[in-house]
Each structure stands twice: as C-alpha cells, then as structure tokens.
C-alpha cells in the first residue's frame, strides 16, 4: 500500500525530558488516523515534527515521501494544516482570508465551493472577529482544505463546537476522506475518533501505547461483554461474559421472548482509553508536563 506518513524511532527531547520517546507509525494514503492522548503526552510534538515545525533528535520521518525537515514549498503545496488555534484574522472576512490563501496554492479549490463546504455561506462576508468560536474553526478548516491537500493535519478541530456543528464537521471530514485525502487528526473527543478514524493511536509519556481500529483498540473487540437485564422480581441483574449471545438466548427462553431492559455492551472506546493512559496521568503527569512543552 502507498504510504503517506512513515515514522520510525522518533525521538524529541526538551532538555532532559523526552517529549517523544521512540514512536513508530505508518499511515497509508486515504486513511483517517486519529492520535489520542492526554495533554503533554507528545501528541503535539509528534504532529509538529511531521508538519516540519520542529526538528527531531532521532528517528526516520517521511511525509508524502519527503523529510519534513528539508522539504520545501512544493511539499507544503500538497499539505493542509489546521493548527490548534489561529487568530490574527479578526479584521478580514472568511472570503478574503480564503481568497488570499488560495493564491499561494497551485491546485486551489474554488473559494465559494470551500465556503459552502465548511458551512459559512451566510457568514462569508462578515468580519472573522465577529464569528462564534465554532464558525472561526470552520474558517480554519476552510483554510486547511483550500489547497486540495493530499494530506490534512487537524489539531483538535472541533474544540468549542456545539453537537450539531460537530456532526456537520464530521460529515465534511468524511467527504474529504471519501475523496482520497489522508487525514491525521488529534482530538480529545473519543466519540470523534470513533466516528471518523479508520485507526487510532494512543500516546502517553512520549510512547505509542496502542494502535488499532477503534473497534479493536486495547482488545476491545474480544474482551468480555456486560449483559444487564431486569429479572422477574424487578431486580437489576448484571453479568460479565465472553459468550453474550448464548446468555441472551438463555434469557430469552427464560422470559419467553422479550427480556426486560436488556442491554449488551462492550467497553467503550473511552473505557479502553482511560485504562490505557491511567498509569501515565495523575499527580506527576498531565498538567505539569503540558506546561513544560511550549505549545
């Protein structure tokens, strides 16, 4: 398969502290990949190395066939980068920002088409400073996709979105992915990763703890299921089992059909994620490390 991103043995330290401590990752073209992890885990550092904003200390990195540290403007022409927050656009309109950015790309999309794609038709000629947080983020995404990128980086794209805006945004990302764009996404929202990503990687303390499809992450697909129902006395019953279908069949026979208040669940992505990162967050983790790494 054609590789969009290849990373092996990536290391990056700030002073004595390793922010990224040996990460391997391969992303194929057309894939949507979500990078998850607590603040200070090394997510941003990894992504910024891939984007060519940071120099690595060790390891091999290839993005669209080039080393980000030495790649030039022709390489950037094939990338779309949506940074964590972009400001400085308050005084211009979405249309002005997009039109100006379109001029620097060799394969720029039509400005009106992008405005429609990110749902800003009504706000296209308002000052960006007057837009809501979610609308500004759509401007950022519009700026990221205006150049018809082969590879799109999205750093926490839906922070501050309301649920409807998030659903609309997911639709947009799915349509981009459907068009063959490779997407690397970082997010704090596990439902977002589950909805969008073909595969997810969990990073903590600079290492890749797990890397799989959302359905199978951390053995999720094969782990025990939890079956709950209400018995004849009206008491809530819970049973963990590796053969939930058999249990449900038995219950159905016992109840002569419908089992009252039946649920069958496997660990949610969030359950798996939290148990994966649990050893790496807490008193010595998270926030302090997040401050040590400049954003």
């Amino acid at each position: 398969m054609d590789t969009a991103i290849h990373v092996s043995g990536l290391r990056k330290a700030y002073g004595a502290r390793a922010a990224v401590d040996g990460i391997d990752l391969d992303i194929v073209r057309g894939e949507v990949f979500a990078l998850l992890g607590p603040n200070g885990a090394g997510k941003t550092t990894t992504v910024e190395v891939l984007e060519g904003f940071r120099q690595r200390d060790a390891g091999d990195v290839s993005v669209l066939g080039e080393d980000p540290q030495t790649a030039g403007l022709d390489w950037r022409d094939r990338l779309g980068i949506v940074l964590q927050s972009s400001t400085g656009l308050d005084l211009i309109t979405p249309r002005e920002a997009l039109a100006s950015t379109a001029k620097v790309y060799s394969r720029a999309r039509d400005v009106d088409e992008v405005i429609a794609a990110v749902g800003l038709v009504d706000k296209a000629d308002d000052r960006i400073g007057k837009l809501s947080g979610g609308q500004r983020r759509r401007v950022d995404v519009g700026l990221g996709i205006i150049g018809s990128p082969d590879l799109l980086f999205l750093d926490e794209p839906t922070t501050g979105f309301d649920p409807q805006a998030r659903r609309d945004f997911w639709q947009l990302i799915r349509s981009l992915a459907g068009g063959g764009t490779t997407i690397l996404l970082t997010t704090h929202y596990l439902d977002e990763a589950e909805h969008l990503a073909d595969r997810v990687g969990v990073i903590a303390a600079g290492r890749m703890l797990a890397l799989d499809t959302p359905a199978n992450l951390g053995g999720r697909g094969s782990s025990q299921a939890t079956v709950t129902w209400e018995d004849d006395a009206g008491t809530r019953r819970t049973e963990r089992t590796s053969t939930p279908t058999q249990l449900v069949t038995e219950l159905a026979a016992r109840h002569n059909g419908e089992v009252p208040k039946l649920t069958v669940s496997r660990p949610s992505l969030e359950d798996v994620y939290l148990s994966l990162i649990a050893p790496h967050v807490g008193a010595s983790g998270d926030e302090r490390e997040a401050q040590a790494v400049p954003a």
Binding site: G88, L89, L91, I92, V104, G147, P294
Partner: protein, 268 residues
Amino acid sequence: MKTVAVGWDRTVLELKMYFREKEAVFFSFAFPIIMLSMFSVIFGGESFDARGSSGVNAARFFLPGMVAAGVVLTSFQTMALSVAVERDDGTLKRLRSTPMPPVSYFLGKVGLVVLTSLAQFLLLVAVARFAFGVQLPTDPGRWATFGWVFLLGVASGTVLGVAYSSLATSSRSVGAIVIAPALILQFISGVYFAFTDLPEWLKQVASLFPLKWIAQGMRSVFFPTAWEGAEMAGTWEHGRTALVLGAWLVGGLVVCARTFRWTKRGTT
C-alpha cells in the same frame, strides 16, 4: 513571479487590515497630521522667523519633524507591533504552514509601509500647504533630497521594526516595548522641539539613532537655506545622514536574517 504576485496580494490584505484597525490608523497614520495641525493652531501667533528669513510659520517649523515622526510611526512602529503580534498569535506559523514564499510576506509588509508612508506624507504636506499656507520647496534638488531621505528612512525603519519585534516575548508586552522607545526618540530627535534647544549630551545620544538624521534631512528639504547654520554641525550633513541611515539599514538586515522566527520562542 509568484513571489511578487502573492506579495502584492499580501499588500492589499495588509492595507485592508491596517485601515480597519482604528487604533493603528489613529496612532500611526493620523497622529503626525493631528499633531501638526494642533501645533500650527497653538503656536500660530508666534514668530519662528528669528533668523530674519521669511515664510517660516509654525506649520512650516513643525512640518519636517512631523514628516520624520510619520516615517518612524508607519515603518518602525507599525512593523515592530504587527510582526510581534503576528508571531505571538500564530499568524506567522499559519502562513509558514502554507506554500507562500517567505519573501512574499515581507513584500506585503514593505508594500503596506511604502503606501501608508506615502499617503501620510501627501496628507501632511497637503494640510501644511492648504490649511496653514506653508511654502513648499519648488527646487527639484530639494525633492531629490526628500526622495532618498524618505526612502532610506522608510527602509531602515521597516527592517529595524522587523528586527525589533523579536524582543517582544508576548503580544501583551509589545505595546510598551515598542511605543516607549519610539516616543522617547521623537522627543530627543528634534521632532517636537527644536533640536538646537537640547543639551549637548542629549544631542550626541540622539545622533546615534536614525530618527535624528531623518528629521535633519527633512529640515534640509523644508527649511530656508539660511537656517542651515543652526544645525549641530552648521551644515545639513547629507553625506553623514546617508551613511548613518545606510548603516542602520544594513545592520537591521543582518539582525533580521539572523533572528527572524516564524514561531514563538521555545518552539523549535
């Protein structure tokens, strides 16, 4: 070709942003024009003709200083403030993430500075001429002097502004870091007071910086020839003016090339 086209597009965008920001328009673009008008009205009854030459009223007396201050405000101050803020808020990083040729960014800034400085100058002389009856020079030689002093002043101000922006560590501190020294320089460089009234040591200090030389060059354009003797050296010192401004320009370019960053400090 693309570099120039994108640079021009950046200029247009920069101009839109500049004139939509009312503080910038007031404190850098309109400020010298307002000051010239105020001084001309306040000191309108006083004679500035001590040397017996004719035709120097308050407006003509203050015009060279205001032209010089305008150059510093629209080039140095605008550049230092905007680049520092754009570095801090991530604008530079965002631009760097695109295939925009880096030179286009600077071309956009240069376009902004050149056009706003020229427009400001034209407004200044228009106000001086039509509101306060100032006699403007007719000698082409004087306008040639204006040309190179203005060009060197704007160029060095722009370059030094970009270099200076690296001193600001956050957009919160940038206002104080940029505006305070610019204001002090204006006071000691003969913009608001006659340079000859300053104590000798302060003149020496001011002579180290470009603004004194821009102001002196502008006096040589707009003052009567008879006033030349009142200058520090008794002449307009055109050669030295060119030398000092040129040195600052080259020095500024070197500092820019060595220190310019697209991202905030601590992000390598």
